[in-house]
Structures are given as structure tokens and as C-alpha cells.
């Protein structure tokens, strides 16, 4: 790839939200060359052992100095890791096996350290637990530190940075971040790592927008390049054009202004001036996110996705593991409600051991509830875990991709069996736990009146509903222009779903992207939506709009929309009306 390419967009994992624009400081340790030297005779062997011992002592001294620094800066998380690294360096097993390698293999100290550490970290290769696996890097750092001390090669030090910089690195160790002058570092961008890696933890603790897991950002970026880091969505743009810079500067400004401005709405109800209230809930994926949603003004979790539990691992999550996570989610947010959605994935995404036929058309294939009803053991484990967790707070269960009644009958049968088992075993659960279904397939939206009799609530998943209704793959750039939430067919389906639910005394929540977009709020309000569940970052903004528009007028909007024939007409109408009536509601965009 041409390294001077402008506007290069890299996608990683956003681990600390916010937008920053700045110059990079490329933090790469020069690759160390370790020449393998075969030793002759006892003298040379003893000399190498002595070299190793001295380097080890020096490494310990280094780390102790780092520890002091970390303690001074009160970086608790980093201190634990450094403490542990010190213990490793003092570990008899490590010291003895390195010495043994030097003696028995007759090789130089640096190579012996390298080999021993590599063997040690290899024992982590088979670990399925993501967090434990990441700890493998601790051994690598220790090895590198000792080897550098043997060879006299220095690792770059981040304390030499004196102007505002975004650190670009393969990965950052606690020792690296301990030396940071946080007044000049504005963000981190790394090749490796995940949500629980050290870099991510530090980034969140320091509130520095950061993106990790970018694979080879260190190759794409040159020292001093200007980059944009969007830690909210996990995107890095390298060498942005003037135009991109401008649009991101605006976005950044807006984000910051919004954050400040919206905070005042945190504890206010989502209520229109004429007294109509709905509940605003958060879509959540990780258990760690749950605690923060109240800060964003949410009144509960409207959609807890469980796919994350199944990805990137060799074995299926056990009942116990799931139970613990669900219980934690429920307890963290209690007394507020939590809606947990059962597995919404195609088997190709995680079941490598199953012989699944490659599907020509996976979005119309064996996924979500279809997969669960076929591989019932997977489903049962999840349902049992959910039911057990229901004893600990207000849990609602949500089933994805329902296309008709039959699926609900099947689900209920299985649920009843599991409830029976639990009862016989004396395991507590909430027998009245609410069950709901995703309305995201047009067939379900059409027979909402029938479905409403069988379940406690509906959750409209607009992203899929729009895609299936309009037959648009919106990641396909050739047709994505046709993707429009305001298409009259979509509006009619949503209207039908809400009316059918209300006729049967059921509530409707919307959890797609449409829920977090201010433009659509008056229509959804006018149609009578009961709850909106969205990215937590959108909640305060929707609350603000909610508190400035009028319910009765929203109802009138919906009546007028009935007469409009295209999405464009509808959009033009809403924009005009909103601008005229509630200009205050539209002076900010979604972050």
C-alpha cells in the first residue's frame, strides 16, 4: 500500500469514546536482532549466566522505578500488572529454566531468554478465555525487557514527548504508559488489543479517545502524520484531506458541545411539553457498559445483545458463564428493566465445528431463532441461564427474527420444559418473566395482530425490517440509496405493529438505528411508540428533542403522512414542519 495515501480509513475497535485530531508519535521499538551464539566451554557458559543475572537485576530495577512512577500517578490497574511482572522476574521457574537453557543448550543469554519466554507464552495459545490470553503479552514484555538489558538496546521512552500527540504503537505495556505525560498525550492507536487490553483500560481511565486492534496502523502511519481518531465508532483516518478535516473538526466540536449541553437532561424525564412520556433505553453489548448507561440518561437496557458471548472462542459459552453474566447485567441496572435478546447470529459466525452448508444468501438463511430451533441444545443452555437470572431483577426475554406463529409455539414449548425442570430442581426463577419478539421481518409485521396475542411485547428492529421490506442490502453501495426508513411501506408496517400491539394491550419498543434519530421522533411519537432503545450516546439528544416537541402535533403529522406517496415527500414534510415548529430540537446532530 502507498504510504502517502490521503484519507486512509482504518477500522478497529473503539475502546474510549470521543474524537481527536492530531499529530502522531510513532512508538515502535526497533526490532531487536538476537544473534544465536553457540557457546564453547564452561567459562563462556558461566559468563552468559552472569550476563543474564545482571540483566535480570537491571530489569527488576527498571520495573521498580516504573512501579514508583505508577504509584505516584495512582494508576492502580497498571501497578497490579507491574507488581505481577516483578513477581514473574523473581519466579524461580523462569530464572532456573533460562539458566538451564544456557547450560544445556550452550547458547547465549539473549537467545535463551527468548526461547524460554516463547515456550511460556506458547502455553497460552490454547486458552479460550480472551482475557487470560491477552496476558500472554505480559510474558513478551518481560522477555523483551531482559533481552534489551542483555544486549544493551534501549526501548524508546514515551516521556520524551513534549507536544500534543497521538501515540501510535503495536501495543502499549504498563511500563510504557507509566512514563506518559498525560498533559501532552491525546489518544492511543494500536495494532493489537481488545476491550480489556491494557491500552484500552488506560485509555478509558485517562479518558483519551482511542482505537485498538487496527492490525497494522504502525505500517500505515508515519511519525508526525496527522490522523483523526474516532474512539466512539473505532475509526482512524490517516492523513485526512482538508475537507475531511473540516467535517471532523465540526463533528468533534459538535460532540463536545453536545456532551456539555445534553448533560443537563440526564435526570429529566423524556416528556413532551404537553405531558406525553415514553421511556428511553440503551442498547448494550458488553456487561461493562451497563453501569454507564444511567449516566447517559437511560431508564434501563432495551436491548442486550448476546452475540458477543459466542464470538471469538472455541467452545460455546456454558450455562454457568451465561447465567453469571446475565445476572450481573440484571443486578447492575436493577430496579430498571433489562431486555436480553437470545442469540442473533448465523452459525457460520461461530460454530466452526458444525457442518453447516455454505449459504448463498445468509441474511435469508439459517440464523438467529432458526438456528436456535435447529441446534436446540445451544438454545436450551441460553434459555436456562436466562430463566435462572430472571430471579434477580426485571428481565425480559426477546427472540430475534420471528417470521410467524409456529416459532413462538416452539419457543414456548421449550421454555415450559425448562421451567418445569427448574421447578423440579428447586432452582428459583421468575415464572412470569415477560417474553417478546423482534419484529424485523415483514411477515411478522403484517400479522402483528396474531402475534400480539402470544407475547408480552414487540421490539421493532428497524435495520432489518427496512432491509427485508425494501429488499435492500444497505452495505451494497449500488443500491444503498434506496434504503430509506421513511418509505411509506415501512411507515405503514410500523404503524400496523404499534396498533396491533396496543389493541391487545401490549407495548412496543423500537431498537433499531431509527430509534436514535431525532428526525423520526415525531412520527414514532405520533404513532404511539412506548419505548425507544438506542446507542446510549444518543439518549440525551433524543430526550432533548422529546422535551421540545409536541405530542398532539406529532399525531397530526402522522395523519398527514398517510397521504404522502414517497419517502422523499415524507422527509421534506417532516423537515419543514419540524423547522417551523420546533427549531430548537434540530440544532444538533447525533454524535
Amino acid at each position: 500500500m502507498e504510504t502517502t495515501q490521503q484519507n486512509l480509513l482504518l477500522k478497529g475497535i473503539g475502546v474510549s469514546p470521543g474524537i481527536i485530531i492530531g499529530k502522531t508519535f510513532l512508538f515502535t521499538s526497533d526490532d531487536i536482532e538476537i544473534p544465536l551464539i553457540t557457546l564453547c566451554g564452561k567459562t563462556e557458559i558461566n559468563r552468559e549466566i552472569e550476563r543474564f543475572r545482571q540483566a535480570l537485576e537491571k530489569s527488576r530495577e527498571n520495573l521498580r522505578a516504573v512501579k514508583k512512577e505508577v504509584e505516584r500517578k495512582k494508576q492502580k490497574e497498571a501497578r497490579y500488572i507491574i507488581d505481577a511482572q516483578l513477581l514473574i522476574m523473581e519466579d524461580k521457574l523462569l530464572v532456573e529454566s533460562i539458566i538451564k537453557t544456557i547450560q544445556e543448550r550452550g547458547i547465549d543469554a539473549a537467545s535463551a531468554v527468548n526461547e524460554t519466554i516463547r515456550n511460556l507464552s506458547r502455553s497460552f495459545d490454547d486458552v479460550s478465555d480472551e482475557y487470560l490470553k491477552e496476558r500472554k503479552t505480559d510474558f513478551d514484555y518481560i522477555g523483551e525487557r531482559i533481552i534489551r538489558n542483555i544486549l544493551g538496546a534501549k526501548r524508546h521512552n514515551l516521556s520524551t514527548i513534549h507536544e500534543p500527540s497521538i501515540i501510535v504503537a503495536h501495543d502499549l505495556s504498563p511500563a510504557d504508559t507509566a512514563n506518559l505525560d498525560t498533559s501532552v498525550i491525546i489518544g492511543f492507536v494500536t495494532n493489537t488489543g481488545g476491550k480489556t487490553s491494557h491500552t484500552a483500560i488506560m485509555a478509558r481511565a485517562l479518558e483519551l479517545p482511542s482505537v485498538v486492534g487496527l492490525k497494522n496502523v504502525t505500517k500505515e502511519v508515519k511519525n508526525g502524520d496527522v490522523i483523526i481518531v474516532d474512539g466512539t465508532i473505532g475509526v482512524v483516518i490517516v492523513r485526512p484531506t482538508a475537507e475531511t478535516l473540516r467535517s471532523y473538526s465540526e463533528k468533534k466540536q459538535m460532540y463536545e458541545q453536545l456532551k456539555k449541553e445534553l448533560f443537563q437532561y440526564k435526570d429529566l424525564p423524556a416528556e413532551t411539553p404537553d405531558g406525553y412520556q415514553i421511556r428511553l433505553l440503551a442498547n448494550v453489548e458488553l456487561v461493562e457498559e451497563v453501569a454507564s448507561i444511567l449516566e447517559h440518561g437511560a431508564e434501563g437496557v432495551g436491548l442486550y445483545r448476546t452475540e458477543f458471548l459466542y464470538l471469538n472462542r472455541k467452545e460455546l459459552p456454558s450455562e454457568e458463564e451465561q447465567f453469571n453474566i446475565y445476572r450481573k447485567v440484571i443486578k447492575t441496572i436493577a430496579p430498571h428493566p433489562v431486555t436480553i435478546r437470545t442469540l442473533d447470529l448465523g452459525g457460520d459466525k461461530f460454530l466452526s465445528h458444525l457442518d453447516l452448508v455454505e449459504e448463498l444468501n445468509p441474511v435469508l438463511g439459517l440464523r438467529a431463532i432458526r438456528l436456535c430451533l435447529k441446534e436446540v441444545h445451544i438454545f436450551r443452555t441460553q434459555l436456562r441461564a436466562l430463566l435462572r437470572a430472571s430471579a434477580f431483577g426485571e428481565l425480559k426475554m426477546l427472540f430475534p427474527m420471528i417470521s410467524g406463529m409456529q416459532e413462538i409455539y416452539q419457543i414456548k414449548d421449550i421454555l415450559n420444559e425448562i421451567k418445569h425442570d427448574l421447578r423440579s430442581a428447586g432452582i428459583p426463577f421468575n415464572p412470569g418473566v415477560q417474553i417478546g419478539i423482534m419484529i424485523e421481518i415483514p411477515s411478522a409485521a403484517t400479522i402483528a395482530d396474531l402475534l400480539a396475542r402470544e407475547v408480552d411485547f414487540f421490539s421493532i428492529g428497524t435495520n432489518d425490517l427496512i432491509q427485508y421490506t425494501l429488499a435492500i442490502d444497505r452495505v451494497n453501495e449500488h443500491v444503498s440509496y434506496l434504503y430509506n426508513p421513511l418509505h411509506p411501506s415501512v411507515i405503514r408496517l410500523i404503524k400496523n405493529v404499534i396498533e396491533s400491539a396496543h389493541n391487545n394491550g401490549r407495548e412496543v419498543v423500537m431498537c433499531g438505528e431509527m430509534a436514535g434519530e431525532p428526525l423520526y421522533l415525531p412520527i414514532l411519537l405520533g404513532m404511539g411508540i412506548d419505548e425507544l432503545s438506542m446507542n446510549p450516546l444518543c439518549i440525551l439528544k433524543i430526550k432533548k428533542v422529546m422535551r421540545s416537541i409536541n405530542y398532539r402535533q406529532s399525531r397530526d403529522f402522522v395523519k398527514t403522512i398517510d397521504y404522502l406517496k414517497t419517502a422523499e415527500e415524507i422527509e421534506a414534510f417532516i423537515r419543514l414542519e419540524m423547522k417551523k415548529r420546533f427549531p430548537a430540537a434540530f440544532d444538533v446532530n447525533c454524535a
Binding site: 524461580k92 482475557y131 480489556t196 465508532i233 456487561v287
Partner: protein, 112 residues
């Protein structure tokens, strides 16, 4: 707790089975706490998981047990202070190493 009777000064063997309850399992920090604590005792101490036995005084061996949350470990100590050693190590496990029940200090925002 299984034990072989012994008078003071005589070696005892104490065995105790425990479940790892902290969120992140025996990663470096808890392994370090175990090893550090074990090193305070004269007894020989092992920690076993799924048939793999680690020296309780070696942080590396403990870490390489790969004991994730909910795994069962067996702590065994034999020596003059075996009882105290197992009690001290068991306390660490039971108190989930005083790790917070959630591992994010300031949880990440989800992608938009």
C-alpha cells in the same frame, strides 16, 4: 478440608478445593497474590486444576494453569504451616482477590 492429623512441629497435609469466582480468572494479578502469599510459608504448596499441577509459589506456573472463572482448583499444602497456608490462600480465592466484580473502571462506549 481433608487433613492428616499432626501435632505442632509435625508436617500436616491440607487439601482444599475452591472455585474461582472473580471475573477474569487467575490472570497475572491474582496469580501474583497467590504466589506472594504462598512464599510466606515454609510448606510445599501446589495448586491443581484439571490434573495439571502448579507450584503454588510460582506465579508463572499458576498463570499457565489458565484457570478462568468458574474453574475448580485444588490447593494442597504439606509442611509445618500447611493449615495456615491453605487458609490464607483460600481466603484470597473466596474473596475473589478483592477484584471488583466488573473489570471495567470506566466502561467503553459501544460503537454507534
Amino acid at each position: 478440608m481433608i487433613q492428616a492429623r499432626g501435632n505442632s512441629g509435625v508436617d500436616e497435609v491440607i487439601i482444599r478445593q475452591l472455585t474461582i469466582t472473580n471475573e477474569l480468572g487467575l490472570h497475572l494479578r491474582p496469580a501474583g497474590l497467590l504466589a506472594k502469599t504462598a512464599n510466606r510459608f515454609a510448606s510445599a504448596i501446589t495448586i491443581e486444576k484439571d490434573g495439571v499441577v502448579a507450584d503454588g509459589k510460582s506465579i508463572i506456573q499458576i498463570t499457565t494453569l489458565n484457570a478462568a472463572r468458574n474453574s475448580t482448583i485444588t490447593i494442597k499444602a504439606s509442611g509445618p504451616d500447611a493449615r495456615q497456608a491453605v487458609a490464607a490462600l483460600g481466603d484470597l480465592v473466596i474473596n475473589h482477590f478483592e477484584e471488583p466484580l466488573s473489570h471495567g473502571n470506566n466502561p467503553a462506549e459501544p460503537p454507534a
